[in-house]
């Protein structure tokens, strides 16, 4: 492979001065100078990015021990390339940018004086975390492997699961300073060309200095909305499943996650475990997830609205219990709910960020202070505490939705506590419109529920058995209302005018 201009100088000294200037004496830029039968040469590496043992055994030792005849420098380089170092992965570089890029990616670069090109050798050897179980997507059944930081390892994990030449990995570089390698991953015959074109166009237009996590890219790939139209997964098996449905995965070097484009709302309720368990149980779990989603958003708001403005909604016996508990506390139910919700979020954030040895202490303090002392001291009522606790637990059933759910819950507590059930219904309407208006790469975010598609319900309302699911895979571009394969109406029907 030959790189494009600007071309390197034939003078080794000039090239080295140029590169030293670029790195400005950075301590990890290592230049090892030597001679090959009287011709000056140098091996350039970035310390920590290469495997030193491989460098010495596969590059330096063969070069220094080789009997290279006194030829022209270009001929010497060719001889080394074709005879001495032919066992190592090689790339021929003719521009300074290409040399820098390869060095940054863990290549060792051989330069010879009066030779118009340099040779890069793939000797990457940086340290990285070994493959382990994903922490945020825990599964009972299925693989225990999760993505790690190096992209190449992640690529191999996907490749191992999909042994087809139709699986394509397409590299790109994003980030003016970080020059982060990313990789689009898709099945050539399954993905919509239009989706791919739009995605590449979007990625190419991203202007950002550094890309250090998947979250840096998502705002550039979707329109602002409450819910995410770009999925995130730590699991190679999940990514393979999504790719199989015509989606595109984006692997980002240095990030143990893959972005999945497009990602529909109903996918938040699907987990890999669903497909590894029996259908009736998976269906029940799925309905539990739907219920939990509604509980986690509406329960506290509804509780506050009912207790404050519409006591007639509650059964009399329950109302009496609430009134009894609340008569002992100094604050209104609305205030209690808001404060408890904020306290809970603080405790959760502390639990996440605190060093692991201290996290137990945080949990104990949280449980004692919020759970017990607050009620026994009469600061908050037990029913309110129970509602917030139930809501918090329910919100973990759909972890992908935690962020929007948390915000919406807060919004609905405020609406319920200030305007009552009317305000909540209007808020609900607003959320519904927001959910329905979004189109992720020309696929309606609310599909296949609205626009409705009966066949897709086998993996939405229920989780049908594999005998049914295996008959036909629902491609994302064929979702009702999708404009990826056809210029159709939002119900998937062909426009008469088109």
């Amino acid at each position: 492979m030959t790189q494009e201009n600007p071309r390197l100088s034939p003078s080794l000294l000039e090239n080295l001065i140029d590169l030293q200037k670029e790195f400005d004496g950075s301590m990890d830029f290592v230049v090892r100078e030597f001679t090959i039968t009287g011709t000056d040469a140098a091996l350039l590496t970035i310390d920590g990015m290469v495997n030193k043992q491989v460098v010495s055994e596969s590059i330096m030792n063969p070069i220094l021990s080789a009997a290279v005849m006194d030829l022209e420098p270009e001929q010497k380089m060719r001889y080394l390339r074709d005879n001495i170092l032919s066992a190592v992965e090689q790339v021929q570089l003719v521009s300074k940018d290409a040399v820098i890029s390869r060095l940054m990616n863990g290549f060792a670069v051989l330069a010879i004086d009066q030779c118009s090109y340099m040779l890069a050798f793939g000797v990457q050897g940086f340290q990285h975390r070994s493959i382990s179980e994903p922490s945020s997507e825990v599964m009972q059944r299925g693989s225990r492997e999760g993505f790690v930081e190096p992209m190449l390892v992640n690529i191999s994990m996907i490749r191992r699961r999909m042994k087809t030449p139709k699986l394509k990995f397409e590299p790109m570089v994003i980030g003016e300073e970080s020059q982060t390698n990313i990789c689009l991953c898709y099945l050539r015959d399954t993905v919509s060309p239009e989706l791919l074109r739009l995605l590449k166009k979007n990625l190419a237009s991203i202007k950002i200095r550094t890309v250090l996590a998947a979250g840096y890219l998502t705002p550039f790939l979707e329109k602002p909305s409450i819910f995410n139209g770009i999925g995130l997964s730590e699991r190679p098996d999940t990514v393979c499943g999504k790719i199989n449905e015509g989606r595109v995965a984006i692997l980002i070097d240095g990030t143990p996650n893959a972005l999945i484009v497009p990602f529909l709302f109903v996918e938040n309720f699907q987990s890999f475990d669903d497909y590894a368990t029996r259908p009736f149980y998976a269906t029940m779990i799925r309905w539990l997830k739907y219920l939990s989603f509604f509980i986690s958003i509406f329960l506290p708001g509804m509780y506050v609205a009912s207790a404050t403005f519409h006591p007639e909604f509650l059964p009399q016996s329950l109302l009496q219990k609430i009134a009894q508990a609340e008569s002992q506390t100094p604050f209104s139910i609305f205030m209690e709910a808001v404060v408890l919700h904020i306290l809970y979020e603080i405790m959760r954030e502390a639990g996440l960020r605190v060093p692991r040895p201290l996290s137990h202490a945080v949990s104990i303090v949280g449980a004692l202070v919020i759970g017990d002392a607050a009620v026994s001291s009469g600061l908050v009522g037990a029913p309110t505490l129970m509602v917030i606790a139930l809501t918090a637990t329910a919100s973990y059933v759909t972890p992908n939705l935690y962020a929007p759910v948390s915000l919406l819950r807060f919004l609905f507590i405020i609406l319920g506590g200030t305007v009552g059930v009317w305000g909540m219904m209007l808020g609900f309407g607003l959320v519904l419109i927001n959910l329905c208006v979004e189109s992720i790469y020309k696929v309606p975010f609310s599909a296949p529920v609205s626009p409705f598609h009966w066949n897709s319900m086998r993996d939405v309302l229920v989780r049908a058995g594999w005998r049914t699911l295996a008959k036909k895979t629902d491609q994302v571009q064929n979702m009702p209302g999708s404009d990826l394969t056809q210029r159709g109406g939002s119900d998937g029907t062909q426009n008469p005018g088109s």
Partner: protein, 372 residues
């Protein structure tokens, strides 16, 4: 030029079901013409049949120009005078929304303890409706299906919980006091048929099986209304005739063990349909204004429409005489008949006359060319 959004026939009629259910939920004996609500069962049957006639002008107009809505057609036929028709439809939709929102006000004042001022409710509803109108018809159509699920689930739950209270002894023979109530009911139902003007506006943007959609829409709607009347009369008895909002009364008495009253369901169902109806009408008001004032008036016309609806409903519901006028058949029926029937008929006839004239001229031209 902005790309035209397309929705399917299924989505259009889903929206229209939601809009009609919202208004069906406000029926009461007084509005329907007396104190024998059961007579209105036949009103449903008659209105169901009449709807097939009412839709004909819009259907033929659409068939003659499938990709032209009534506003564009009016410009094609009447030139600049078409602006008058656009403005009529804009004002009609604003009027309809004032009607819907004022009804909600009457409900809050008369049935619930109003703990927040109505203007605040009106402003909140309009804020959500404006957001919806800005998102366009596709988003509203998708939202409609989810709202229909909410409404149907709510109503089903309500009907199921009220089953133990159904007493067939509460039913009485039809037309004992004559057929006046039945005919008033028919007129009331027709006066509230605001879906026809919506069809006239949106049909060109609709793909799919429109005729089947219309048939199902009509059937579901009047079945729902008939079942509603049957459940109301059989479970509430004569109490139904004294209630301003019988469906709410039904929700109040309904109860299964843990839930003693179903008021929340009623309010939820009504409000969720209401904002969607107003959002769609605002979208249509915007389309009317765009036709007259151009694309640049898009945002301002939506906002102006929202202010007019909110202000109008607050004003109307603050004056007893005004809202009595608004809710009377004298106003709603002529306006709806004009928007749904008269204007489409006039346009259809003018279109036919122009077409025949054009055909005759073409034939004359052809003869002249031949002789030349």
């Amino acid at each position: 030029m902005k790309k035209l959004s397309y929705i399917s026939a299924r989505q259009l009629f889903t929206m229209l079901i939601v809009f009609r259910i919202v208004i069906i939920m406000t029926i009461n004996s007084i509005l329907m013409g007396g104190n024998r609500l059961l007579d209105n069962l036949m009103s449903c049957a008659i209105a169901f049949t009449l709807n097939f006639v009412l839709v004909l002008p819009i259907y033929f107009l659409n068939r003659r120009s499938p990709r032209t809505n009534i506003l564009e057609k009016s410009y094609d036929l009447f030139g600049p005078f078409g602006a008058g028709i656009s403005m009529f439809y804009a004002l009609y939709f604003i009027f309809v929304d004032c009607y819907y929102l004022s009804f909600f006000h009457i409900f809050t004042v008369n049935v619930l303890d109003p703990y927040i001022p109505f203007w605040l409710i009106a402003v909140s509803v309009m804020a959500v409706a404006v957001y919806g109108a800005f998102q366009g018809i596709e988003a509203l159509a998708r939202t409609a299906l989810l709202i229909l699920v909410v409404i149907l689930t709510g109503m089903l739950f309500l009907f199921i919980t009220v089953i133990p209270r159904i007493n067939l002894n509460n039913l009485y023979p039809l037309w004992v006091d004559g057929t006046d109530q039945m005919w008033t009911g028919v007129l009331q139902v027709l006066g509230r048929s605001t879906c026809f003007p919506i069809m006239a506006m949106l049909l060109p943007q609709v793909s799919g099986r429109k005729k089947l959609g219309f048939l199902l829409w009509n059937l579901i709607l009047y079945l729902f209304m008939a079942i509603g009347i049957f459940v109301l009369v059989s479970s509430l008895g004569s109490y139904v005739d004294t209630q301003l909002f019988p469906f709410f009364s039904l929700a109040s008495i309904a109860g299964v063990r843990p839930f003693q009253r179903m008021d929340a369901i009623f309010i939820g169902v009504w409000l969720s349909g209401l904002f969607l109806k107003i959002a769609t009408d605002l979208y249509l008001v915007t389309q009317c204004c765009i036709k007259v004032f151009g694309q640049r008036s898009r945002k301002i016309s939506t906002l102006a429409g929202a202010v007019l609806i909110a202000g109008g409903s607050v004003l109307i519901s603050s004056n007893r005489q005004w809202y009595q006028q608004l809710f009377s058949l004298k106003l709603t029926l002529p306006l709806t008949i004009t928007a749904a029937l008269a204007l489409p008929i006039v346009m259809l006839m003018v279109d036919l006359i122009k077409y025949r004239k054009g055909k005759r001229q073409n034939a004359k031209q052809a003869v002249q060319n031949d002789s030349a």
